[in-house]
């Protein structure tokens, strides 16, 4: 068992899978994931689908906020754009999903670029306000452009189909979702070690200094917005296929805050953190229901009181707790556990 880390070349340092053990465990995980519909019950498959969609959106937001340092409270707008694009393309034009999902991503990326240019000069609080107002404007347009989005009546989205083969139940949709999630996660992980990723991190750390050493702020900030909104758009498209019915009230500021909570709880700036955060916040409502059920045996009035609102309260509480107690998030906890094992028997 190795103790400490000794890297002998730059290539080794940048390698995504550092040791053979990582690859073995990853292979085990992939096999378990791919065979999930066979050994897992339908609810687990459904939850995995929802988590997958959340992972894609959280990854996008983490690239923008965690890697590049641009706070965005408008991510739900891009998810909405992606969802409605894929819904409209598949209901009105009858396009198959392998066209609508990239189209949704690209249109969302286009709007991301549109948002990115005005926001170049803004930082911190002002950027959060600007992205929030963008989110509000998109929410308004989605509700009121009835000719396009059917407003509050909602759009009913048919199951995605390709060459006649329809992915009508969650188990079949599962494979599409995990394929896309795997692809996008690998892309994001690779992004962090390329020139573009390093430029993003430079912008986050000290953007003026980055410009001085030659990082073109305009190009990379707009690229960050574009990539992030592409991910959001794809997540929206998957969401529309997964739930089958779109309504404007799903894409409010609360959704944006939910995504921010996912990346904060997971760990800002880390790809694994986005995955952790997304999965954690997707299963938190079930955990709370479970706790309420468990305690309800002794305190029956608790069970009678329980309703959806508790999830939202827990959600806000989690954001506060993680920021106060564990700012590096779940990923920070994971890294600490890993390094304590790695450095054993030494402490550091």
């Amino acid at each position: 068992m190795r103790s400490k880390t000794f890297r002998e070349s730059y290539r080794e340092d940048v390698r995504i899978f550092q040791t053979a053990w990582v690859k073995i465990w990853l292979a085990v995980f992939v096999i378990a994931l791919v065979t999930l519909p066979m050994w897992g019950d339908p609810y687990l498959v459904y939850m995995t689908n929802i988590s997958g969609i959340a992972i894609v959106a959280a990854l996008g937001l983490n690239i923008l906020t965690g890697l590049t340092g641009q706070i965005s409270l408008g991510h739900a707008a891009f998810v909405a754009i992606g969802a409605y694009t894929s819904a409209i393309l598949s209901t009105r034009l009858g396009l198959p999903f392998w066209l609508t999902i990239p189209a949704a991503g690209l249109l969302a990326a286009f709007f991301g670029i549109l948002l990115g240019f005005p926001c170049l000069r803004l930082k911190g609080l002002y950027l959060a306000m600007a992205t929030m107002s963008f989110g509000v404007v998109v929410e308004y347009l989605v509700t009121h452009l009835e000719s396009v989005t059917m407003g509050v009546r909602g759009i009913s989205v048919p199951a995605p189909s390709m060459f006649g083969y329809t992915l009508s139940d969650p188990a079949k949709l599962f494979y599409l979702i995990i394929f896309i999630v795997a692809l996008l996660t690998i892309a994001a992980k690779n992004l962090t070690r390329t020139r573009v990723g390093r430029a993003f991190v430079a912008i986050r750390d000290r953007d003026v200094a980055a410009e001085v050493i030659g990082v073109n702020l305009t190009k990379y900030k707009v690229t960050a917005f574009a990539i992030s909104s592409f991910y959001g758009g794809v997540a929206g498209a998957l969401y529309s296929y997964s739930t089958g019915y779109l309504h404007p009230e799903n894409f409010t500021l609360l959704l944006s805050v939910e995504y921010i909570a996912m990346i904060i709880v997971g760990g800002l700036g880390s790809i694994l953190g986005s995955v952790f955060g997304a999965i954690f916040l997707t299963v938190v409502p079930d955990i709370i229901k479970g706790i309420a059920d468990f305690l309800g045996r002794w305190l029956p009035f608790l069970l009678a009181q329980y309703d959806e609102e508790w999830n939202i309260a827990a959600f806000g509480l989690l954001i506060m707790l993680f920021l106060i107690v564990e700012p590096t998030g779940l990923n920070g906890i994971w890294i600490r556990i890993k390094t304590s094992f790695k450095n054993w028997p030494f402490t550091y």
Binding site: Y140, S147, I260, E309, A313, G316, L323, I324
Partner: protein, 323 residues
Amino acid sequence: MALLFPEVTMLIERCRLPAHCNGSKGKVAESVFYLLQLVISGLAVGSLYALVALGFVLIYKATDILNFAQGEAMMVGAFVCYVLIGSGIPFLWAVVIAAGLAMVFGLITERLVLRPMIGEPQFAVVMVTIGLSIFLRSISGIIFGHDNKVFPSPFSHVAINFKGLVLSHTHLWAMVVSGLMVLLFFVFFKYSRIGLSMRGVANDQDTAMLMGISVKRVFALTWGLSFAIACIAGVFLANVMVLNIGISLVAIKAFPAVILGGLESIPGAIIGGLVIGLLETIVGGYLDQILPGVKDLTAFVVLFLVLMVRPYGLFGEEEIERV
């Protein structure tokens, strides 16, 4: 293009005065009258926004944090006041007691949630306040329920009618109270010792500590005061609209007012609030039949434009970033 969006076609065709302005003789007078009524209503709404914006500016001035939980503080204050009035306490005393309780609540919040975050980057603190706002909103929903409660208003329901221009008593009192509060806080920050120490802490925490100012005490006082103002604003809002959880969302509408006026400026808060209220009401008055709900959008479009052109607002100070 217009075919794709019938709404745009309708906008181009129907952009004219509302239907009740008929008859070409009195048309100019009617339209001026309508505009005046909109201006009065706009100022009334604007003074409410100004009161809310004052709370934001107070916290930002002293602690450099934008408190996203201000709306929820308003809502909790209004609910507490409602409960107090419901148990028989006369209105004015109920407001005073509720404001006192809100101050204590602000002190507790500062101690539990914000004290551990001293020194953390601004993004983290803003996110904590967002988390606090979500938490407070859902806890209030659990405790107080979701149904609309009618706030027992002490103001007479007869509207003041001045040559045909209508203004309700509640709005008038809201304007008076907003004006008083703004004056009070302006004087407080400029001339009083505590106000000065608050500004010092906002400017540079370390230097303030070196000068002997207790940063913890200043933070606690700021949050307490801000929550007390939020309680009063909440009471007014509950009088004007119905009392339910939606009151907290008015604070989000007040963000444009705060940014327009400048985050650190108290006169900016009132001017920003009035301008946003005016703009919203006037745009709503003329465009609401064509684009329903455009009122809510106006404030955010203005916010976006202000951020593009002059992020520091009308009266704010430009932040110089030293590298």
